[in-house]
Symmetry: C2
Subunit: 375 residues, 2 copies
């Protein structure tokens, strides 16, 4: 787990004839024209981005494409979670078709998770599947949402309930763009980086405990952390693309986290996704200790590290208060099927020893939440 | 190619772990509860249908489900091609989610091609893919659109431009329902039956020439014709699910047909899909003869048979006039990629000897259309 001399890293996602590369390193937006032109048969691209990202990177990205003779059009959508809607899906499909993007051309998502999920979904349904390139501009998108092919939009019935599996043909993770993220947004992405250590890479978690300041500072350690995260996700996805089994491990911390996001009405001023995951991972470790599955020391170690980097680790750090335990349980049950009072949860036997538990008693979860909720 | 003693037929579509059965025969709507209950783990179903089909079959279908303890909800949409829109896709997704259809439950399309295409698309995107059952109620849907997993809606840019490949888990083709079709609608479906003979089954085409009156009358010959058609489509789909090659043969007659549908603005009073395919198949054979690929006798034989059953075979049979050849060519080019003045077309060397030609000169097509268009 040491930094290498060459800055650029490549992670391969092995999915047979749908395999693809994730390129990770500095300067990839400027190099995008070359990287895309060498892989794509077509010469036409539709770039979908949002109003936050466009002023920063759209010009440079379009210039890089045009320099290689690629004919590109762009669509700038409003920034934010509300953009993951049918309304914006329709407008993306419409602009891709209006640009006459054909089988050998591609649709590009230039942005964070919202733009990636929405654009990937549109690419997955235009002409029953079009080529798709991810250019993730947040740490969260680089280490999580841009890899693995889950795409989708939200429904009034819940988040990500409408979508398809549609793998990208290429992911370009330009690590330079991370310098423009707010510290809060970078930390939120870092929660997913730490997650890979907690799932099944105890050495990576130990390295993060030691090296997180270097990861935050940028340079080789950051590229190393992103590449390790992408490789971890790529391995899980290659083994279980459609989440019939072990892919569920990627949801470590997410069951509690999603319930907290729902309880705060997805108000990013109160809680963003990565913060929910951070608190959720601590809760998952504490709950595992309570169930005598893991040592309380491991829960304390997780809490200490996430707290040290500046992430929230306790529900009482969420401003504006939370609903009672039973209400949180409802939000959990909406996501998960409750069978005879039992839930499926990602629990752990210790740092890097997560597993899928499908018989967690609902009553234990409620009792645990009552203990942990601010009085 | 003779009728068998048992009325019910089963055709298997071999697609690995996504294989499924097509049951063909009388009484399958009444038997739907039993057939579905024995195959489905879940006990919840959302039935999507339209205002034409609902008064005829929805009550009986829901009753059959309830008799087997299946909890079913239904949604009745307007009938007609305009229903294949984002607006109705959203309402189908919404009612499926509102009914809390989960992984082991299913979404059912009870209707013709429009309802099947729309509902299959919704099933393909709700929770990134839900179980899906086709109960086709038109001949066209039974022999064509309900088999093979192509789903989708129309866009202002063209038909079926937005969708996914999503295979059903079961197809129930109740041949009793065909008795309520208008003769015109039955004939339109018959064009697709004849198509399978023309693609690569000369013996089936010869049998149809001899036995078409029995097929129209119902009974064993009709079940035989439907089963042979489904088997033909199943074989093509199993070999090339995502249309990378030979699946394109299923488009015999469709390139000209789609152009005629577009030219008549999808006005079913003037031309329905099967009629466009009928004229299109005659044109494909005539054009193949003109290119010295096939004998003009074969084109005459196709024209004679389709004419005998009452299908239109000439462009001048379309009421209301047609645009000039160049305009028709534009409609063809919108569907197909034109590379250096060359088009991909399904042509033929004779009855049952169709092939994919990817170098058809656009100029030849225009000259041919000028000859054939009413003066």
């Amino acid at each position: 787990m040491t930094a290498t001399a060459t800055a650029r890293r490549t992670v391969r996602v092995d999915l047979g004839d749908r395999s693809y590369d994730i390129l990770i390193g500095p300067g990839l937006i400027s190099a995008a024209g070359r990287e895309i032109a060498s892989r794509l048969k077509g010469r036409k691209i539709a770039v979908i981005t949002d109003a936050h990202v466009a002023p920063l990177y759209l010009g440079g990205f379009m210039g890089a494409l045009q320099a290689e003779g690629i004919d590109a059009v762009s669509l700038v959508l409003p920034a934010g979670e509300k953009t993951k809607s049918f309304e914006h899906l329709i407008s993306v499909c419409d602009s891709v078709l209006a640009a006459r993007i054909e089988r050998n051309d591609a649709v590009v998502a230039l942005g964070g998770g919202v733009i990636g999920d929405l654009t990937g979904f549109a690419a997955g349904i235009v002409r029953r599947g079009s080529r798709f390139i991810q250019v993730p501009t947040s740490l969260l998108a680089q280490v999580d949402s841009s890899v693995g092919g889950k795409t989708g939009i939200n429904s009034p019935h819940g988040k990500n309930l409408i979508g398809v599996f549609h793998q990208p043909d290429l992911v370009l993770a330009d690590t330079d763009v991370l310098d423009t993220l707010s510290p809060r947004e970078f930390r939120a992405g870092y929660a997913e980086v730490a997650k890979y250590g907690l799932i099944d890479k105890p050495d990576f978690f130990a390295w993060l405990e030691k090296s997180w300041r270097d990861v935050f500072a940028g340079g080789e350690a950051r590229i190393e952390a992103i590449a390790t995260s992408c490789q971890a996700k790529a391995d899980v996805v290659a083994a279980d693309e459609r989440e019939n089994g072990q892919r569920a491990l990627l949801n470590l911390g997410h069951t509690f986290g999603h319930a907290l996001e729902a309880a705060t009405e997805y108000d990013s001023a109160r809680l963003v996704h990565g913060e929910g995951v951070s608190i959720g991972m601590v809760l998952a470790h504490q709950f595992s200790a309570r169930m005598n599955l893991a040592s309380p020391d491991d829960a304390r170690r997780v809490e200490a590290h996430l707290g040290e980097v500046g992430l929230p680790t306790k529900m009482d750090q969420i401003p504006g208060g939370l609903p009672p335990a039973e209400k949180l349980m409802d939000a959990i049950a909406q996501d998960k099927k409750v069978k005879a009072g039992k839930l499926t949860f990602i629990l752990t036997r210790g740092i890097g020893q997560s597993f899928v538990a499908d018989d967690v008693p609902q009553s234990e979860v409620i009792a645990f939440l009552k203990e942990k909720l601010p009085k």
